[in-house]
Symmetry: C2
Subunit: 354 residues, 2 copies
């Protein structure tokens, strides 16, 4: 637990903290961004003018926006500032990768109330910078402003792609195989652990949180990564997905987007849905069916995609990509076949027995 | 005054209102955006996938982001939802025009608390659509999410420009003339009127607001327009500005951005600073020096730009563009000469006597 319900202290809390008001809006932006170096040739002009300038040299521009709100999407009781900065970037890049494109730039708008300190914002931007460096994207613009309450973050990510490379959600074909990267449900279970530890902490602030035995799932929640490797893996195998989406709302919701937009149904098989052993363990600890966590957990930021039947052999033996089912005619609906032999209808949140 | 401190009622309030929760996030986005038509050939893919896709056909991409927060940037006591939607778009487009570029797309992220109704959001998006239609930009993506309190709006605008057309802030030259479009101070004085009427209303809700005698300045505050005409006017005169910025923070602040970033000073003359008669009148009513309102008011969304000395003759007799001063060496500082013969130093907020 961070013992900083309203302080957002940097480090051990012994440093002198600086109210943001001391720097003002321009001062704060300048303070936080003056060391930023642009990494991409396409970033012609970054922070410092009315707008940023980008040169994609004939490629298409891909753009996506996400907003994160304190108390809705994150809780400072267990979210360190640096992780929050990192995650704010990652969740947006994930959308760019889900288009089979390469992220190149982000803009970052942040509203904060007067309780935030310059040091807390430094930590936040350190996380933003870490993500930018890791994923090789440039922070090229933004806005820092006041809020009446809490912190609100809005990131827009821009990427580029050759027209022929882009993969949409609405282009899956009947008989296509459904694949997913990595494993599912972990981020949701990490959140359950953090919420439990928060509750225990609020009851007894002297208690030490036990996060280490669940390090994997907690990490999935606090420091997710975007799948920047899948496009290269598939390209090296000579596969272009027929449709793709990132798993942000949960496998059910996101697969249903592909189904609805492609005008198809699907069948997926419980036994093929990838889960980490620690996710299964954590689910059992909370008396939750692991499958439900995988289907509806969300925030896994894995890639869910479909491939042509003729491509499926190429995926054999490829570690970290699971083939979980196939696309079917719309009339067949979206169905889940359990290991126990039952058939369920997939619904956007949760699943119903047929 | 809107008699809707927390209801955000659409129309006359007699309609049945629908809580946003009834539609859910996807339902609301779909409900609000399903009629949107893409207008620009460069908008390859709009709302409905992980990200939007844009084809600028070799031109550069210009991008800017702004966040508007209820209680900080707008007040529902006097801001109709439709105007808010319109203004949210306009303030971002203004930044694109300030780069001498043409806006083409926007993304819109909105966080709202549970007190907002579907009808209120329809009004808001009607305003967004009006602005999109008027300025010929496409809403290509976004995010709608919950807030714990109030409404937060984050707009990212994308534009395009030929590389040679882009005008930055840091490229003014010594001796260049300083020009500004339209008139200044009006938006700030409109805000003072609205704040006064709000106060009167809170003291006596039966009182009828008197906004009509100040329609111009109130309009400047509630329904600003971005100067989409200046680029064409200058082009037709054969002028490319040497530096440009939009007046969002106030003439002083924004001119100082040009000075600092260009490594220059400036001298401007009170007698040349354009104000609308109603702005002067309103300033006098509030016992404010009109000049202060013009220098520091902000939110006028006019364009402030510099032109080469050899271009200045071309501007003679051009209505709506005022030549207010010249760029000087940095050592001379940024100075204002008043009609009374005094010299002041321009500072970012307000001005100090020398």
């Amino acid at each position: 637990m961070n013992n900083q319900n309203n302080g957002h202290q940097a480090g051990n809390g012994k440093k002198t903290l600086t109210p943001v008001s001391k720097l003002g809006e321009f001062g704060l932006i300048n303070h936080l961004t003056h060391n930023l170096k642009l990494q991409n040739a396409s970033s012609i002009k970054g922070i410092g003018d009315d707008a940023a300038v980008i040169d994609n040299r004939g490629k298409l521009t891909i753009v996506t926006t996400d907003m994160l709100v304190e108390g809705i999407h994150f809780d400072f009781m267990y979210t360190p500032m640096m992780h929050l900065g990192y995650k704010s970037v990652v969740v947006n890049l994930s959308d760019i990768y889900a288009m089979n494109a390469t992220p190149k730039q982000i803009t970052m708008a942040v509203a904060i109330s007067s309780r935030f300190t310059v040091e807390a914002m430094e930590e936040f931007y350190a996380g933003v910078e870490k993500a930018c460096n890791y994923y090789k994207v440039d922070l090229v613009g933004g806005d820092t402003t006041s809020s009446r309450k809490g912190m609100i973050i809005c990131v827009t990510a821009l990427g580029e792609a050759q027209p022929a490379d882009i993969v949409y959600r609405n282009t899956a074909q009947e008989h296509d195989y459904i694949c997913v990267s990595g494993d599912l449900g972990g981020a949701y279970l990490g959140l359950q652990i953090l919420e439990r530890e928060k509750k225990l902490y609020l009851e007894d602030p002297d208690i030490q949180p036990d996060l280490e035995t669940n390090a994997y799932v907690v990490g999935r929640q606090l420091k997710p990564e975007a799948r920047n490797d899948i496009a290269d893996i598939l390209k090296s195998l000579g596969i272009k997905p027929t449709a793709m989406i990132d798993v942000s709302d949960g496998l059910s919701s996101d697969l249903l987007h592909i189904c609805t937009q492609s005008g198809l149904g699907c069948r997926i098989f419980e036994e093929n849905i990838p889960m980490h052993p620690q996710s299964v363990e954590a689910a059992q600890m909370f008396n939750l069916p692991p499958l439900t966590c995988a289907l509806n957990g969300g925030e896994d930021y894995e890639l869910l995609f479909t491939v042509k039947p003729s491509d499926i052999e190429k995926l054999e033996g490829i570690h970290g990509i699971a083939v979980i089912g196939r696309m079917t005619p719309a009339a067949e609906g979206a169905k889940l076949f359990t290991t126990g032999g039952q058939t369920h209808r997939l619904v956007a949140q949760g699943w119903q027995h047929l």
